[in-house]
Subunit: 352 residues, 2 copies
């Protein structure tokens, strides 16, 4: 077949915007690219691959002739529309939570389980949650070498993980507090200084603060985000009995999630060995020379594609265990880039 036709559903959102940038910079495997959004955004003109493209309203017909459809829309929109697109013949790559744990939907990180993308009985492939994704390339490489058994994770999650409203809110709060050098010293002073929290996507001030909450409340006090890290890591890595505990915390960073990871393996592991494994992983960059001030930080890696790993230490008291600090751009590898990579796997399969 000639170059496949791609649809980008949710083209005007936070991830959609990064997706157009990514589609414009990667090797061009696509024929037509259709941009699709809610009727409210239809008619907007967006640039992709250097060309203006008019955004079309979501409808069943808009998928006619589409080979691959990327979805970055809320769960309920994906739940309704991904099957419609699939029924019209498109292979859907969905970045919502609607299908990730469906046993008939593969959950794919190309570095970990590219082959799973070929087995898609519903015509749908799911893209993992951004927090899980931020560590999968690195953890997949270590798992193949040492056999991953346990993960204890604490996250430092960027506000853009909550959508475009997240950065807007953080910038608003930054402007509200800048210049007052007394704030952050008395309980509640930051809460009073920022705009009304009723208008925030976050349950507490984000500026001069960290907030131990992301997602929605599930059983026994767990957040949806914390359970995603557990369930999605197990599915992607193919380790159904992987032991996982995560605590997810939002921090005043615009984009790029960080994770402090305590990882226990079946086999003995050394810092030198782990570093060699990670150095060989094509999409992983090791930044680990604290004597020279070298470790990954969100501000230094945002907007780039790799997964960055630093602070690699052998646990002193836990056998076969490494401590790591991992950073990944939650809009790129954590969302749009991984979606594009899955779509490219499908394109290669369709044209190959």
């Amino acid at each position: 077949m000639s170059k496949p036709t791609l649809a980008v559903v949710g083209a005007t959102g936070a991830v959609g915007t990064v997706m157009l940038d990514i589609l414009s910079s990667r090797p061009d495997v696509w024929g037509e690219i259709r941009l699709i959004a809610s009727p409210r955004s239809a008619g907007k003109v967006l640039r992709v691959r250097g060309e203006d493209v008019v955004v079309q309203a979501l409808s069943p017909e808009v998928f006619d002739g589409v080979d691959v459809a990327m979805f970055d829309v809320p769960d309920e929109v994906s739940a309704e529309w991904a099957p419609i697109a699939a029924a019209r013949g498109a292979v859907v790559v969905d970045n919502s939570g609607a299908f990730r744990m469906d046993p008939d939907v593969p959950l794919v990180v190309p570095e970990c389980n590219a082959e799973a993308a070929r087995n898609r009985p519903k015509g749908i492939i799911a893209n993992p949650n951004c927090t899980t994704l931020s560590m999968m390339a690195a953890m997949g490489a270590l798992h193949r070498q040492y056999g991953l058994r346990e993960l204890v994770v604490a996250s430092y999650q960027a506000v853009s993980g909550a959508g475009a409203a997240g950065p807007k809110r953080l910038y608003d709060e930054l402007e509200a507090v800048a210049g007052d050098r007394t704030l952050g010293t008395v309980a509640g002073d930051v809460r009073k200084a920022v705009p009304d929290l009723a208008d925030s996507p976050f349950p507490a001030p984000m500026v001069l603060n960290v907030v131990p909450w992301a997602g929605s409340l599930k059983d026994d006090g767990w957040s949806s985000e914390e359970l995603k890290v557990r369930n999605e890591s197990r599915k992607i890595l193919g380790i159904p009995d992987l032991k996982v505990s995560a605590t997810c915390v939002r921090v005043p960073v615009v984009t790029t999630h960080s994770l402090a990871v305590h990882a226990t393996f079946a086999e003995p592991v050394t810092v030198e060995g782990a570093r060699a494994v990670l150095d060989k992983a094509p999409t992983v960059v090791v930044l680990d020379d604290p004597a020279q001030g070298v470790f990954p930080t969100p501000a230094d890696v945002v907007g780039t594609d790799p997964t960055y790993v630093g602070r690699i230490r052998q646990a002193l008291d836990f056998p076969n265990t490494l401590e790591l600090f991992i950073c990944g751009d939650n809009l790129r590898k954590g969302a749009a880039l991984n979606t594009a990579e899955i779509a490219e796997l499908v394109a290669a399969e369709l044209t190959g």
Copy 2:
């Protein structure tokens, strides 16, 4: 004896300033209070207990007649001067790292090991590191009930943990970035926007960032801060074989350290049981109702005395294990308050 004489060494520093506030608000057990600092700060007038007190320069003679001397100065200053004060008859309560692991110096958190303060062969009692201290009241209470065996900790540490220069730097950086709503989206853009990092106490931008580094580099890639969490927790709790791994990360918060704690016990533990134990601990406050948006955040608890615990969950895959999110003011319970509490134990012993 009449009310004992107290010396505050390092009265003009970040912790010293909080100490004067604490001394002014707690039940007054002290006779004379002498304020002591480097010769550079001598002659300054500071207020404590509603009275002006002239700061005296550090000298051997200034300790004559002093019963208790609190030190909050750099390690090397404590190492030199605490023995001099002790030789002049003062009981030293030292908040530096100089003596914490000395087997002849007790390391005291009154909620955990008040009795240890009486056994001080060198006349010196050490106050723990602020990161360790932020969780000790809560972990001590849980240890007494369930028998603590393992701790995996990730920290979210405030900039004031680095001294008075930390908040100044963060406020400077906040002012430098406020109003630019593009920052934090391209690698290095924040680094370019903030004042010269050569003038910062931190190795990377703190605003719109998190930095996985605190303290100095020790063996095998560990930071001094991470090793303190391990060694000091073992000594305070009296568990020499406690398994500990910590990753210490600085976040853009002025004051109040937070810790994501994965704690494994000898005995089975439930959320309800742990909550009951923590509710009974006098200096611990449980803030844990995520359905109502209730969990501790630094901005909501800074400037207060308790240790706050929230997000209490039973680990799904690890037996006898709890996940917790703990906040504590690093200048109060994490430093000045605990020092004052130790000094009061000594005052009660001397006058009792």
